[in-house]
């Protein structure tokens, strides 16, 4: 039920020897746009669609699209895990197990990066094909300190921008942020121009196992997480308790797999600025989730 887009580039700033063996999935000579679309009906993914089934409007202008790949295209998964002091004890064990199961569920050709954060952002692994090594590194994650969610997201988007191909950022968080330098609005701006789709596995949110501010009618923490996934065409997956974390991570994985990646070279639209995009099916009824648009920066100064 999610969708994302990407401006393609062949940047490979963070490549390691193991990464160099992995051919960039979508490398092209010209700038193209990828639209990552989730199609579902009554909550179930709709399979078997082709490019001809989709209509894509970029700034209101219909585009000629191809189906770059269905959901089985290799993916760059950036795991961004809140390991602040609230995770001390058993919660950390659940988180390690859930994240490890997520990595185990990735396929050959997928790459994964592992970032944990408290007040400090710790990149335990850059994007790599060596999934087993990343699972091993999860064992090094430990809980401490305060929470710099926005700062960690900036780092996560930074890794995403250096990656070639389809990229998802899987964030585990309760939305609490008590020491970030960067603001939420700065992160939302970044999300709108990032190629990554964000999935949030959220713990302890109202509707999950916390609801202490439900009387106020809104929860700013959840509002931010919703805005984040909305800006990137991602999904907010709530875990009602620690024991449900594994299930939520698994859901993120299956959502990721059940997507269509559409691709087009923009025509008849402005070369830079905000590009609203709209995706629909030509003849079938279904729920489509995609990012609302993308931001294309002006050429190099």
């Amino acid at each position: 039920m999610i969708n994302a887009f990407a401006l393609l580039s062949v940047t490979a700033l963070l490549q390691t020897p193991s990464e160099a063996r992995s051919p960039p999935t979508f490398s092209m000579d010209v700038e193209a746009v990828q639209v990552d679309v989730s199609v579902s009906r009554s909550g179930r993914p709709v399979a078997g669609l082709s490019a001809a089934d989709f209509v894509v409007l970029d700034s209101g202008v219909p585009q000629q699209v191809q189906l770059a790949a269905a959901g089985d295209v290799p993916v760059n998964a950036i795991l961004l895990l809140d390991t602040s002091a609230s995770l001390l004890g058993e919660r950390m064990t659940y988180l390690r197990a859930a994240a490890s199961a997520f990595v185990a569920g990735l396929r050959t050709g997928d790459r994964v990066a592992l970032v944990t954060f408290s007040h400090r952002v710790r990149v335990l692994s850059g994007l790599t094909l060596e999934l087993a090594a990343v699972r091993e590194r999860l064992g090094r994650a430990y809980a401490d300190g305060m929470t710099a969610l926005s700062d960690a997201l900036y780092a996560g988007f930074g890794i995403a921008e250096g990656a070639a191909g389809r990229t998802v950022l899987v964030l585990f968080s309760d939305g609490l942020d008590n020491i970030s330098w960067l603001s939420e609005s700065a992160i939302l701006d970044l999300a709108r121009s990032s190629p990554a789709t964000v999935y949030v596995v959220a713990a302890s949110l109202p509707g999950g196992n916390g609801g202490d501010r439900a009387h106020l009618g809104r929860d700013p923490r959840e509002a931010f997480l919703k805005a984040l996934v909305g800006a990137t065409g991602g999904a907010l997956l709530k875990a009602r308790g620690d024991a449900e974390l594994a299930q939520a991570f698994e859901q993120a994985l299956s959502e990721m797999r059940a997507r269509y990646v559409l691709q087009y070279t923009p025509e008849g639209v402005a070369p830079s600025g905000w590009h609203p995009i709209e995706v629909r099916l030509k003849s079938r009824k279904a729920e489509l989730t995609t990012r609302p648009g993308y931001f294309k920066a002006a050429g190099p100064r």
């Binding site: 305060m146 780092a155 930074g158 330098w181 009618g217 920066a297």
Partner: protein, 383 residues
């Protein structure tokens, strides 16, 4: 009649005469509290390190009830009172012993706070306060009482128990009204409270009407009051110690964020001039950069973020601030270069893990609140 008997009678007569002159009947004079031999024995077993036996002794003392500790304190107090009136004897628990006891109880309290045993921690702290009251002002180590108030206030502040932090810091200021570090710590508790996010409404524009709006306005009103209180404390700290650059820095930030952009900028500029080198200079440039960026002066802001990084090359916060400002300026290559050290996989690097960004320390509390200060006080009392 023996000589002893005669001496005893004379002594009683003397007590009766003293009571009569004080207008108190002899029957009303309370008997001195018994000297707490058991307390001193446990305390003595705590001395000297962290062996299993010493840990057990500390645990045992940590389990003493409020009543038992109060009784022990009364015994120590009466022993001191008797020693004060009898030139032939001295107090059985000397100043060094009581100083050591104060440190032990405070350490127990901090451990209980770690475990969220707040009521038990308060008992330990009240015992410490009672012990310190028995000590003369000129204690060893110097400034024990003042530093103890600061340590307890700072600890509560670090734990975001801000009302408790204020209570202890104000108690310290009541005794030491011109102590710049206590004023600084108190101001920082107010500053922290003023920065709490308004959970009801992030901004006036987004705030609905009715009760929620009233709540919003109340929070904002409080915020102004707290920021003003913080400003006053920082000004007081600067009046008491004009060289306390951290007070200038915090003053600038609280003004800029909550009260007056222009006055805040002025103070932040002065802070960068006074800060010299190191953590305070890092923060001064970081804060001034943010203020300038807020004013739309991005190029100047970038310069200050770079100046902050010159102080601490590994400063994560300055790197993020610089990267973001460069991004907004359209310099994506520069952004990448600034960000790369943060997003590179560093591998196991314990040295890097030990480095604390000064922004995190600022959020935890004033530099005078650092653990190092408390450890140093402990080391002076427990050599």
């Amino acid at each position: 009649m023996t000589k002893c008997r005669i001496r005893s009678i004379l002594s009683r007569l003397c007590v009766l005469a003293q009571s009569a002159s004080a207008g108190v009947s002899p029957q009303a004079a309370p008997a001195p509290a018994p000297f707490p031999e058991d307390y001193l024995m446990v305390l003595d077993a705590c001395r000297g390190g962290e062996s299993a036996g010493q840990r057990l002794a500390r645990e045992a003392l940590g389990a003493w009830t409020s009543e038992r500790l109060t009784a022990a304190l009364a015994g120590l107090r009466d022993d001191r009172a008797q020693a004060a009136t009898d030139p032939l004897r001295s107090a059985r628990a000397d100043d060094r012993t009581l100083s050591f006891a104060a440190i032990v109880h405070t350490q127990l309290a901090f451990g209980q706070m770690d475990l969220r045993q707040d009521a038990a921690a308060r008992v330990q702290l009240e015992m410490t306060r009672g012990l310190l009251a028995l000590l003369p002002e000129e204690t060893t180590p110097p400034g024990l009482k003042r530093r103890w108030h600061l340590a307890v206030g700072c600890r509560y502040r670090r734990d975001f128990e801000l009302d408790e932090a204020r209570r202890w810091l104000r108690a310290g200021l009541a005794v030491y009204p011109q102590d710049a570090e206590l004023s600084l710590a108190l101001g920082s508790a107010d500053e922290l409270t003023a920065t709490f996010r308004n959970e009801a409404c992030p901004s006036a524009a987004e705030c609905p009407g009715g009760r929620v709006r009233e709540q919003y306005l109340a929070v904002e009103w409080d915020r102004q009051g707290l920021a003003t209180s913080a400003e006053q404390q920082y000004r007081q700290a600067l009046a008491d110690d004009p060289q306390l650059v951290e007070a200038r820095l915090r003053l600038g930030r609280v003004l800029w964020r909550h009260l007056s952009k222009a006055r805040g900028l002025d103070e932040l500029r002065r802070a960068t001039e006074q800060a010299g080198q190191g953590e305070l200079a890092y923060l001064a440039h970081l804060f001034l950069g943010a203020a300038l960026e807020d004013q739309g002066l991005r190029a100047d802001a970038i310069e200050h973020y770079r100046a902050a990084l010159a102080q601490r090359e590994d400063g994560q916060t300055a790197r993020l601030a610089l990267a973001h400002a460069l991004r907004l300026a359209g310099d994506r290559g520069g952004e990448r270069e600034a960000l790369l050290p943060v997003i590179e996989a560093p591998g196991p690097d314990p040295a890097r893990e030990r480095e604390m960004d000064a922004w995190w320390l600022y959020a935890i509390g004033p530099l005078a609140c650092s653990e190092t200060q408390w450890r140093s006080l402990r080391a002076e009392v427990e050599p």
